[in-house]
Symmetry: C2
Subunit: 194 residues, 2 copies
DNA sequence: CACGAATGTATTCAGCGCACACATTGTTGT
DNA sequence: ACAACAATGTGTGCGCTGAATACATTCGTG
């Protein structure tokens, strides 16, 4: 009757990451405790150490996962529209949505990276932003974006939207004004229409 | 000979804040410990509690202080130039400088505010950005900025520069490219010249 | 100068990250 | 089949932390 829990969890790493994502959303990165996560998942408090060298390694993994999810969202948003201007707006909106829904996650993703694990997180970030660069590469084909501007415009879009997300997330700009601010920002990019 | 340390420190609150600013710069917000700060300053580990209700209250105070310093820097940068375009560039450059020099502090300042102390921090942020809004108000007098656009442009400038700072601080954009990216961003604001 | 408010001290407690020795299970070569 | 080894989970202990509480000292003020 009493189903004995097997000695080996089987998928402990992913289970911890999943639980960490939930706690992160509810209580922020400061509320993430390896011991509490262990208890939640039902293993001893030392078990996760087999999968995460230390607490920072767990945070890095959560952040990398976040960038992967953000990248997927951006890719979907871009692919949903054929024309440059629509792709630009859709990507920016998707970014803002993600940032407001997962404010704590984004805060962690963009936290100052110190250790060696930071390199992997940074690579994840670069990959995630690829769809945005594609928007401007596509815009160049449509003749709206000048040659060689694609990369710089991509970074500028990331910076602008991340900045807006940041301001709204920390409460300096009311959430109600986020959309209008984003529209104003996107509208200033070449070929976005007034 | 042996100068007896007085029972009352005299300026404990400011001493803790000063020491916290140093530790924050060296080791980040996660490295801030009330107990260690107490030892550094030379008081018992419970003493700071008379001035900061809990750890978060200390972080809030450090953040508020950071916004005050940022505001001063921005004001100085703006006041140093008479013309709109120069003021815009100087302010943006001053912001980026501050952000790169005090990356850990800025990260703390823009951290998601939860508790009641967040309101004071948010007010400090709004005050600090006032010089930037003034730039565009001044631009309207010069006829470069349209009526009613000042506030929105100000927030957009904050968002853009904060976003760039964020990207550079977390290592996604190399520090060497920060200046060029900032130039490109500022150049897209009305009346900034090409 | 007495008395309350402000400020600092000493002690205690629970939770945390981390390190280590040990236990159990999965895998692989012969 | 089975021995040896790698991978994974457990239990214990240490030092540090934030927080709560009772107590001590000093300051300010009537």
């Amino acid at each position: 009757m009493t189903q004995t829990r097997p000695y080996h969890h089987g998928n402990l790493r992913q289970a911890v990451l999943d639980r960490a994502a939930v706690v992160l959303r509810e209580r922020g990165a400061a509320g993430l405790s390896l011991r509490e996560l262990s208890a939640d998942v039902g293993v001893s408090h030392a078990a996760p150490r087999r999968h995460f060298a230390d607490r920072q390694a767990l945070l890095d993994a959560v952040a990398a996962d976040g960038f992967a999810r953000l990248g997927t969202r951006l890719r979907e948003a871009v692919d949903a529209h054929p024309r440059y201007a629509d792709r630009l707006r859709a990507a920016a909106t998707a970014y803002l949505d993600f940032g407001l829904t997962e404010a704590n996650l984004v805060e962690l993703m963009f936290a100052h990276q110190r250790g060696a694990g930071g390199a992997q997180v940074r690579q994840g970030a670069t990959d995630a932003f690829e769809p945005l660069l594609d928007v401007f590469r596509h815009g160049r084909q449509e003749g709206v974006v000048a040659d060689g501007d694609a990369e710089r415009l991509g970074l500028l879009l990331v910076a602008t939207v991340q900045g807006i997300t940041n301001l709204v997330a920390c409460g300096v700009v009311p959430a109600a004004e986020a959309g209008a601010l984003l529209d104003a920002a996107v509208g200033r990019f070449p070929g976005a229409g007034a």
